[in-house]
Amino acid sequence: MPPVQLKPQTASSRANPSAEARIVRINGPVVEATGLSRAAMLEVVEVGRERLVGEVIRLTRDVATIQVYEDTGGLRPGAPAYPTGRPLSVLLGPGLLGNIYDGIQRPLRAIAETSGHFIRRGEKPSPLDLERRWRFTPSLQAGAAVAGGAVLGTVQETPSIAMAVMIPPGVEGELAELAPEGDYTVADIIGQVRRADGATTPVRLANYWPVRRPRPSQRRVRMDTPLVTGLRVVDVFFPIATGGTAAIPGGFGTGKTMTQHALAKWSAADIIVYIGCGERGNEMTEVLREFPELQDPRTGRSLMERTVLIANTSNMPVAAREVSIYTGITLAEFYRDMGYNVAVMADSTSRWAEALRELSGRLEEMPADEGFPAYLPTRLAEFYERAGSVETLNGRRGSVSVIGAVSPPGGDFSEPVTQHTSRFIRCFWALDRDLANARHYPAISWLSSYSEYVNDIEPWWRHQGADWQELRITLMRLLQDEVRLQRIARLVGPDALPDDQHLILFVAELIKNGFLQQSSFDPVDMYCGPEKQLQMMRLLVLFDRRARQVLARGGTLAEIREMPCLPTLVRMKSTIPNDRPQDFDALRTRLEQEFDAIERRLA
């Protein structure tokens, strides 16, 4: 596999406006051009005088069908087309973190500077600042034998993230030259690799990689660590493993974006790649405005220092939306290869699937379900396959976790995108319309969601000495019992239920309001660390046990309902911060004392 090197964004030698290459048809984002018999599938072709970027998606003799990543209004038959000889690629190097890109990695901040508040067509600024100098510290010596992935040195990309400068995958040989410690731009050559055939390949701080080709790793490793998210319903009931995949399906307004924002803020990943794929502009603005102000609870640094944003909003060109998720996941793999744990949020994969459908429709392909192309499941599988925990080429351990939002039409989970997605993910966080309507957030249904990682990560919790599994099973059982009892109550009337069953209903309410519900706007509760999660669960389980004991000894539910510590118990999530575990001990003592007092009265 040939390495992809830093090339100027303009056309290469083959790309001179060959007289024959010209446009013959424009149908929205799909353009046909002739004179491209030498063009390759998925090669980038620029069209029109503004050189709009496109990609070859079909070849018929010398007619190439090109999907164009910008608005094609004003383009006319006869206009020139320029093949570039390279596949659609992203530039990987220092300066990605903290940046915001469109679906084809055009830097939106730089575009705002040159074209103003509205995006102008044909803008092609470099994804990375070409002037900026980065301090490079070498860690190898010239003469070393190197292969793809080998780390030549580091660049401190942000105060919290050190970027490893790696030999691009596919390059192998002897490190003939290596630049000394110093300040370099992304385009400066910092090393030369002499290959077996004697030719040398230059290595820079930044290198291109084609977005549709997964970056290689040595092997996949077992996923046995949870990706702690700080969301109780996720970490306790439906945990995701580091390197795992999850889908968040839900109708409009049920909380997909809020959940992804919360995960992007608080999950224990080193790097976040947030892909706004066909969603709202304001949601990206919100991240841009909020993240720099927020502190990573683990490093104490600004969250923006570990975040890259890909924003191809709903009103931006639909073909670029199709690419945006590949752009995002390629960036994620790049950091994975340095040994980081990366989490990718894709909001929303349904809009990506719709982009696929729209392009497929323009190509007059035979549709399958609901107009989606027959290859939808294959594409989904390929995308989620790029997640995982791996041993990298350089022997480190890194991971990419992928969390994709799904927006089913009418909130109906039987539609194709939800259905196919659920085949390729292992965590399903189903958002429930009724919960959302009652403003019970996160509206993740504890009845229809699932996680297939529970058994894989259970040893991790046990290793921390935690009774996580027992606690979560106890709480879940109460919630399931509640559903059963509610059903009975609807038939026979609530009065017909005995007190011990009423107690179950009562405790279930307590779990829902005091534990599962977690507002992203509550300054204390928006992030709940694992220790606090355990403490809260223990108190709830204790409450349940002692309350049942009271009833067994002849007490009444009314007495329990009157317990003065109850208002504190339901509000512990927002009154006790993560760093004050001793407050839970105090609350536990209070709880025990109040139960003791009731039992004394009974005796």
């Binding site: 995006i119 304001n282 841009l288 709903s314 009418g410 009652a438 009337g493 509000r571």
Partner: protein, 458 residues
């Protein structure tokens, strides 16, 4: 439209809203086409698909009366544009920006492409200025902020127009006394609807601040596709060039979507749901995303699209895809409407997503986010208990459930219900909310903090 282009005599084919031409040269995608009908009338269209030999044109002004032999087509070489200028404020125009009020043409050389361009997400400013609409069910529980896109999901016969007009009349910021400039776009609605709004704006004296783009029920249906674009282009001019705060009312989006479906069907495109094209989402987004604020610029565009849900079905593609794009929705409820509750704003499915940053400390009042959340929680309990009572009878309910029933009735009668001319301050709305919550025992109000309960409940 002043560029000179070649004129072609004869059309190859006319099919529904589409016209096919052959042998055309030097025509660009998206160009405007002027077709002269045999009777001499001029029709506007737009190029949808262009190859070296053939152009597919969608006619905004209908194809009635066109013939293949005796029609002529001229390609203007530019995409659809409208004239923009401050002088247009107060005028009544048609869907493509021509006067409809009998007054002369607008004199301005400023022209803008109606398709606009995407606002760079990096350049947006997050909207957070609370707008007091004077309607409690909105201000207290589904707050509107300046720069938001908040649609009204309604059904046939329900008072969405009254509510939109009331909001347009009463909307104001707490701190400043800036009036909204109103841009009103009508797509396929009857003249009565336009008249209703004109009357309402005349009564409130706002009429000089209103610009109307009307494409009514008896106008060609495809013109509806361009109407909201003309209106939004003008709104963008007012907001981001003239620095004004603009409220855009778009009605009825369902008619707009039907016109889109008509064109898609004529092109034999593969439908997704209910015959609507797969790109309905992207198309709607290209309208709705033209709302918001831009960092460093003084103006704003607040959008209030109105749509009628066919058979009151919120999962119908039009409300569904709208809900997926807009920043919340005000849903009107048939049952409440039948109980004569005005405004019949449904308690649970309504939502304002930008509310969180527009309310609370320093904006409205500290307790606002929590009381809103508590009201939603309590009202959703009411809905459950009402369903239970329908099965087992209300006598069988527990004493607590009975309190919830009482709360629900009070909430609908006193918090939601208000007059069409009643303009409540946010303090009055908050007080009404607390009044309702006092029906419930303190221990039920777990979404409010102890301090808030002490201050407002005890």
């Amino acid at each position: 439209m002043h560029d000179i282009g070649l004129e072609y005599c004869g059309l190859q084919r006319v099919d529904g809203p589409l016209v096919f031409l052959e042998g055309v040269r030097d025509v660009a995608f998206d160009d405007v086409v002027e077709v002269t009908a045999p009777d001499g009338t001029l029709r506007l269209g737009q190029v949808l698909d262009i190859s070296e030999t053939r152009a597919v044109v969608q006619m905004f002004s209908g194809t009635t009366g066109l013939s293949t032999a005796a029609s002529r087509a001229r390609f203007t070489g530019v995409s659809q544009r409208i004239a923009v200028g401050r002088e247009m404020v107060g005028r009544i125009l048609d869907g493509v920006g021509r006067p409809r009020d009998g007054l002369p043409d607008v004199l301005t050389d400023e022209r803008r492409d109606v398709n606009g361009a995407s606002i760079n997400p990096y350049s947006r400013e997050y909207p957070r200025d609370f707008i007091q609409t004077g309607i409690t069910s909105i201000d207290l529980m589904n707050t509107l902020v300046r720069g938001q896109k908040l649609p009204i999901f309604s059904g046939n016969g329900m008072p969405h127009n009254q509510i939109a007009a009331q909001i347009a009349r009463q909307a104001k910021l707490l701190a400043e006394d800036v009036r909204f400039s109103i841009v009103f776009a009508a797509m396929g609605v009857k003249y009565d609807v336009a008249r209703f709004f004109i009357d309402s704006f005349e009564r409130s004296g706002a009429i000089n601040n209103v610009t109307m783009f009307l494409s009514l029920a008896d106008d060609p249906s495809v013109e509806r596709l361009v109407t909201p674009r003309s209106a939004l282009t003008f709104a963008e001019y007012l907001a981001f060039e003239a620095g004004m705060h603009v409220l855009v009312i778009l009605t009825d989006m369902t008619n707009y979507c039907e016109a889109l479906r008509e064109v898609a069907t004529a092109r034999n495109q593969i439908p997704s749901r209910k015959g609507y094209p797969g790109y309905l989402y992207s198309d709607l987004a290209s309208l709705y995303e033209r709302a918001g604020r831009i960092a460093g610029l003084p103006g704003s565009i607040t959008q209030m699209p109105i749509l009628t849900m066919p058979s009151d079905d919120i999962s119908h593609p039009v409300p569904d895809l709208t809900g997926y794009i807009t920043e919340g929705q005000i849903v009107l409820d048939r049952e409440m409407f039948q109980k004569h509750i005005y405004p019949p704003v449904a308690g649970l499915p309504s939502l304002s997503r930008l509310m969180k940053d527009g309310i609370g400390k320093g904006r409205t009042r500290d307790d606002h986010p929590h009381i809103a959340s508590q009201l939603f929680a309590a009202y959703s309990r009411v809905k459950e208990i009402r369903a239970l009572a329908a099965v087992i009878g209300s006598e069988e309910l527990s004493p607590l459930d009975k309190l919830y029933m009482q709360f629900g009735d009070h909430f609908e009668a006193h918090v939601v219900t208000q007059g069409e001319d009643e303009n409540r301050s946010i303090e009055e709305s908050l007080a009404a909310g607390w009044q309702a919550l006092k029906i419930l025992p303190r221990s039920e109000l777990y979404r409010l903090s102890e301090e808030e309960l002490k201050q407002y409940y005890d």
